[in-house]
């Protein structure tokens, strides 16, 4: 009897606290409805500035994610498999820096590398590293990199090394083993990393503002519309962003479920 009461008390506490957390997250979405003007919404969403910003964000985030998959996946494999080398801890810290650094600070650091007086710019004087699509991609890639690397590293670490050893014994080279065993077995975790880094790139504002305020990404467009006309002016931008987020969240949960299924059948 006493146990039952204690259990009930526990359940009620959890439910109440969870309810507060959920309300805190959902309430801003509800207030959005107050500002929606249904007749103006299609016009607002179809504005060229907004559609261009959306297309630019989708393009730049996709390119950033592709760059991350090309360089981030090998780095995450390196971190997962090469365990005993001096300076490994420092390497792990470096990988996390873009995650813990305020995005504006990341942008400032990137400006140091790609700004007007940097050696790289002097080496490639015709390339526009800032205030360009390239600048956006550089900023998004930098800020989104930890999501890709950490998720892929965890995915590779979850693949038992015995699978790779078996492949080697069965006559496969290291490259063949990587592409036929390690990568497919870590695939779902890597895809989750790609989705997370893509989402982070889409939502990136601080570092992107420092590197390239123009052309506008969707985040900068929301920032600007809100600054000019308040929330009412930014509602179409936000609704577009919410729809995009919901699609990504949906894909993310499907992938995560697949990954859990894949992990369950490993010995």
């Amino acid at each position: 009897m006493i146990m039952n009461k204690r259990l009930q008390g526990f359940n009620i506490t959890i439910i109440v606290l969870s309810g507060i957390a959920l309300a805190y997250i959902a309430y801003p979405l509800v207030t959005l409805l107050v500002f929606v003007e249904p007749t103006m919404l299609p016009h607002g969403i179809l504005r060229p500035q907004l559609t261009n910003a959306l297309i630019l964000s989708l393009f730049s985030a996709t390119i950033s994610t592709l760059i991350l998959s090309l360089f981030g996946v090998p780095l995450s494999y390196f971190l997962a498999r090469f365990k005993n080398f001096p300076g490994k801890f420092i390497l792990r810290v470096i990988v996390i820096v873009p995650l813990v650094l305020p995005p504006l600070a990341s942008g400032a650091l990137l400006l140091g590398v790609f700004g007007p007086y940097s050696p790289i710019v002097k080496a490639f004087p015709t390339v526009e590293f800032t205030q360009s699509v390239l600048g956006i991609i550089i900023a998004q890639t930098y800020v989104a990199s930890p999501f890709m690397i950490l998720a892929s590293q965890a995915a590779f670490e979850s693949v038992d090394e015995s699978y790779e050893n078996i492949a080697r014994v069965l006559g496969k080279t290291r490259f063949e083993t990587f592409f036929k065993v390690s990568l497919p077995m870590a695939k779902t975790g890597i895809v989750i990393g790609l989705i997370l880094s893509w989402v982070r790139a889409i939502g990136e504002l601080g570092a992107t503002m420092m590197m390239a305020y123009n052309p506008h990404t969707i985040s900068i467009q929301i920032f600007e519309d809100n600054a000019i006309g308040g929330l009412r002016n930014a509602v179409p931008d936000i609704i577009l962003a919410i729809v995009l987020s919901l699609i990504v969240v949906f894909v993310f949960y499907i992938m995560r479920r697949q990954r859990q299924d894949a992990l369950r059948i490993q010995w």
Binding site: I166, R168, V169
Partner: protein, 375 residues
């Protein structure tokens, strides 16, 4: 004839553990079982031979050729790990053909060979199944098929039955020896299970603390090691130190005389014994009997036990404070019975006494069966 030879093979680990120097030879008609406790270096031996680990000294020779610095993928060695490690992103068939070179895969007769091996292993019906639907025994068989299809020069097995339930283990053990014998490749199997030694070994060696301590054929091991009546006998002094785990069971070899209705009679020496199960008449079987299953009596008494063996007590060894192992010789084989000190006192058992050792037909466990065709 393929021969595997290790010459002064050594491996040092951070923390002080050193394996070797190891020296051994295995030819293509031989299954060598290395037995030793956890941490003795058994898996390291296999990792060194396969190339997954680099030795600090010594050589690995196959057919007189030094392969010590040959990369793993070019050694043509088959190696099964403790768990089957089947690739979960492939189905059974894709797993099995994973190690086959594309050139060979494209040849017409490759399918015939693949199907024949799958039929041999009893996994033909599994080919299009997904991995996660397989039982432990099926997984182990698929793992074996994947390994054997590559026509390896050397076969290495690390605790092949470690993850199997007892009944699957019993069945697979007998099948595995048949399969391995057909391959005609030098085979090394490491284990810490005594039963695996009886089921698979042509020869046995023990590894303890990284040192290979003893090597012998299974037959001579059983004869010289366990039943020496004199405690000063060199074999009886050495063996308990290196093969402590092998001291427990009674292992007998015999020939099946009759097998009908689930009851099999086999002959060991001139003694006829009975066990459960159906086996091929004329085949040679290896049988384990737990010493706890053997009852002793000084008089011939009528009981339900199907096996009664007249024996002579040759020595006693204390098992623990209350229990004693009674070593006996009967006909052409030896038996050990594990009884309490009280029972020994009640029976007034002494060295040289004649006793009747009795055990039920359900007690002997067949761990290997070799047909006439295999010699």
């Amino acid at each position: 004839m393929v021969e595997l030879e290790l010459i002064n093979l050594t491996k040092k680990f951070v923390g002080g553990f050193t394996l070797g120097p190891l020296n051994l030879k295995v030819n293509n008609n031989q299954i060598l079982v290395i037995i030793g406790p956890t941490g003795s270096g058994k898996t390291t031996v296999l990792n060194l031979i396969s190339g997954l680990l680099k030795p600090d000294g010594g050589s690995i020779m196959v057919d007189g050729r030094d392969i010590t610095s040959v990369p793993v993928e070019r050694r043509k060695i088959a190696y099964t790990f403790q768990n089957p490690s089947l690739f979960p992103h492939m189905n059974v068939y894709e797993n099995i053909i994973f190690g086959i070179k594309k050139k060979w895969k494209d040849m017409n007769n490759s399918n015939v060979e693949i199907n024949s091996l799958l039929a041999d292993l009893g996994v033909s019906q599994l080919t299009h199944r997904r991995i996660h639907g397989l039982s432990g025994g099926e997984m182990q068989k698929v793992s074996l098929a994947r390994m054997l299809i590559t026509k390896p020069k050397i076969i290495l097995m690390d605790e092949p039955f470690a993850h199997l339930d007892p009944s699957t283990k019993r069945k697979l053990r007998i099948e595995l020896r048949h399969i391995l014998r057909r391959q005609s490749a030098p085979t090394i199997c490491v284990t810490h299970f005594e039963d695996d030694v009886y089921a698979l070994a042509d020869s046995v060696c023990a590894l303890q603390g990284g040192i290979m301590e003893h090597s012998s054929t299974l037959g001579s091991l059983m004869k010289t090691g366990r039943y020496a009546s004199n405690d000063n006998d060199s074999a009886s002094r050495v063996l308990p130190n290196i093969l402590t785990s092998i001291q427990g069971n009674n292992y007998l070899e015999g020939e099946v005389i009759k097998s009908l209705g689930g009851l099999t009679t086999f002959k060991t020496g001139s003694t006829l014994l009975e066990t459960l199960g159906n086996y091929n008449t004329g085949s040679k079987v290896g049988i384990l009997i737990r010493p706890e299953d053997i009852i002793l009596s000084k008089q011939m008494v009528k009981t339900s036990a199907r096996n009664v063996v007249r024996s002579k007590v040759i020595k006693f060894t204390k098992y623990d404070a209350a229990i004693v192992d009674v070593f006996m010789v009967a006909d052409s084989f030896h038996l050990t019975s594990r009884i309490t000190e009280e029972a020994r006192a009640d029976l007034q058992l002494r060295q040289g006494d004649d006793v009747f050792a009795m055990f039920k037909a359900s007690s002997p466990q067949v761990v290997r069966e070799e047909g006439k065709e295999e010699g």
